[in-house]
């Protein structure tokens, strides 16, 4: 038994020594002899294992590629988000540059920093400019779209502005054609509109003037804070109130405070000046032109009716042989129908007669319907006749190239 055990031990040792010697021999073999041996093993015994390894490595490579593709896709999406944000900011800054070019002077550009505390309704903004830059309390804060708010606190390097959504905000406002005036308040009953937008109220509008939905509302310049002509918003609808002698309208603001990132603060030297030519009160001109056209149509209807009556009267008098030349003048004794006698004198050319008989006011000339271009220009002149001369010149002045560009 012991002999057998010893024999087994010797055999084991001999096997071990044999393995070691063979391994050492293979180690010292030249490369050209080792490589065929390895190749034989790779092609026979190890072939299935080599296949397994190559498949595993292929899986691993595919997995890595998939991860890299996912990472690239994520990066691309992230870049896309950044690009959209940059584009939006770029658009805002371009608009602000355009506004600066139109204002020429008297403004301070500032970055609007929203409060760290998240608000459902943004009511204040921190501006990155203060008294050192010329900003004072109650300085108007505007954006390329219109009124944003006013400065409430001015420190040397920063200032805090209340927005039009703030409960303390008030602004004197008017319609585009200057026919209606009122005071703009924040619409606090609901805070946010149904679609999440900020809303305003135009209160104390005289009951005799009704504003149609879509009418643009501007600052009137009467309050002393905001210069005249800055867009505030658009009339959405009339609000029913207990006050029977005035009207209240709901406004959609031109500016969304939540998206304001850069603003212009108007300095005191710029505030008293009008802004009619800055925001291009197109709506006012259109409204005025519409009003003049309506007036022209009314005058023309009266003139036509008078000429018809005159012709009928002449025919009757001729038939009776008792025609009197001055009877027409007596017939048309109403002062507001002064054009009628001339129209009667020459019933075949009523419009020219109407124009000639009127005073040299553009409105009367505008009754000639065939020349719409003349009527439009006269409408502008008529609008100007009812308002300030400088505002008129601005409203009919051709749009400057830089203004066109920034539209």
């Amino acid at each position: 038994m012991a002999r057998a055990t010893r024999l087994s031990s010797r055999i084991d040792f001999l096997l071990f020594i044999g393995c070691v010697i063979i391994a050492l021999v293979t180690l010292v073999l030249p490369l050209q002899m080792r490589e065929p041996l390895a190749e034989v093993l790779r092609r026979s015994v190890v072939a299935p294992l080599v296949n397994l390894q190559s498949n595993a490595e292929r899986w691993h490579t595919a997995w890595q590629l998939s991860e890299e593709r996912t990472a690239r896709l994520d990066s691309a999406v992230m870049r896309g988000f950044n690009a959209t944000a940059l584009q939006t900011e770029n658009d805002q800054l371009r608009k602000l540059l355009g506004l600066g070019a139109r204002l020429h002077m008297g403004f301070v550009p500032a970055e609007a920093v929203h409060n760290a505390v998240r608000e459902d309704v943004v009511t204040t903004l921190t501006l990155t400019a203060g008294t050192r830059a010329g900003i004072k309390v109650y300085s108007p804060v505007v954006s390329p779209e219109g009124v944003v708010g006013m400065v409430q606190t001015a420190d040397p390097s920063i200032s805090i502005a209340i927005l039009f959504s703030h409960p303390d905000f008030r602004a004197s406002a008017m319609s585009g054609d200057g026919s209606s005036f009122g005071i703009v308040y924040p619409h606090l009953r609901q805070g946010l509109g149904s679609s999440g937008e900020y809303l305003l109220e135009l209160r104390n509008v005289p009951f005799r003037t009704a504003l149609a939905p879509g009418t643009m509302i501007y600052t009137s310049g009467l309050g002393g804070t905001f210069p005249r002509g800055i867009p505030i918003g658009v009339v959405l609808r009339e609000l029913k109130t207990a006050e029977g002698w005035t009207r209240t309208y709901l406004l959609q603001p031109s500016v969304n405070p939540a998206k304001v990132n850069a603003v212009m603060v108007l300095t005191p030297q710029r505030s008293p000046q009008r802004m009619d030519n800055v925001w291009q009160m197109v709506a006012r001109v259109d409204s005025a032109a519409h009003g003049v056209v309506s007036a022209g149509d009314s005058i023309q209807r009266h003139a036509t009716a008078d000429s018809v009556r005159r012709v009928v009267g002449d025919s009757v008098r001729r038939a009776a042989g008792t025609a009197r030349p001055d009877s027409a003048a007596r017939t048309d004794s109403t002062p507001r129908h002064r054009a009628a006698p001339a129209a009667v004198a020459d019933s075949t050319r009523p419009r020219r007669q109407t124009t000639d008989s009127s005073r040299p006011r553009p409105v009367r000339r505008d009754t000639v319907r065939r020349d719409s271009a003349r009527r439009d220009s006269a409408a502008r002149r008529d609008t100007n006749a009812r308002r300030d001369t400088s505002a008129r010149r601005d409203s009919v002045r051709p749009v400057r190239p830089d203004t066109m560009m920034h539209r």
Partner: protein, 161 residues
């Protein structure tokens, strides 16, 4: 039929397959050497001579894929297999930590022989490989070996009537 031998062969085959499938998938810098685990697992269940032959065969398989040091792995695994078989009494002890330590030792000795005989590294690189990377790899192999032994122990228990 010796079912223990069959079970041992099957488990060693599984571990060898894992070496060529799981390790490339993981592709860690410090990789698990399933061949050493298979060698240690099989060596303690056979005579030292056969364990040396088993290690030699596994080493040749490993060397065939790295012809630059053809024979180094065969030498290392022969030594490790023979040594593990000599120390089978320790391995049969019901102590996972002890088993893990011997797997760690086997892997580290194998790496030492492989690196020294293969003449692949010199100086500081050799020192770093032996002290740091081989130790880390041996530790990872030991952890994987402990898990394997713990999982496979019920299969390898000798049933008595």
């Amino acid at each position: 039929m010796n079912w223990n031998a069959v079970r041992t062969a099957v488990i060693c085959a599984i571990l060898i397959v894992l070496h060529y499938t799981v390790r490339p998938l993981l592709a860690w810098n410090v990789s698990i050497d399933f061949l050493i685990i298979a060698l240690m697992f099989g060596a303690v269940r056979m005579r030292p001579g056969l364990a040396a032959l088993f290690g030699f065969a596994l080493g040749l398989v490993s060397d065939s894929l790295s012809p630059g040091a053809f024979g180094a792995a065969a030498l290392g695994m022969s030594v490790v297999g023979f040594g593990a078989s000599w120390l089978k009494a320790v391995f049969f002890a019901d102590n996972l930590a002890l088993n893990g330590f011997f797997i760690f030792l086997g892997k580290w000795i194998f790496d030492l022989i492989f690196v020294l005989v293969g003449h692949r590294m010199h100086g500081a690189e050799l020192f770093m490989q032996i002290v740091v990377w081989s130790s880390l790899s041996a530790a990872m192999t030991a952890v994987a070996g402990i898990l394997a032994v713990a999982l496979l122990r019920p299969l390898m228990e000798v049933r008595t009537a």
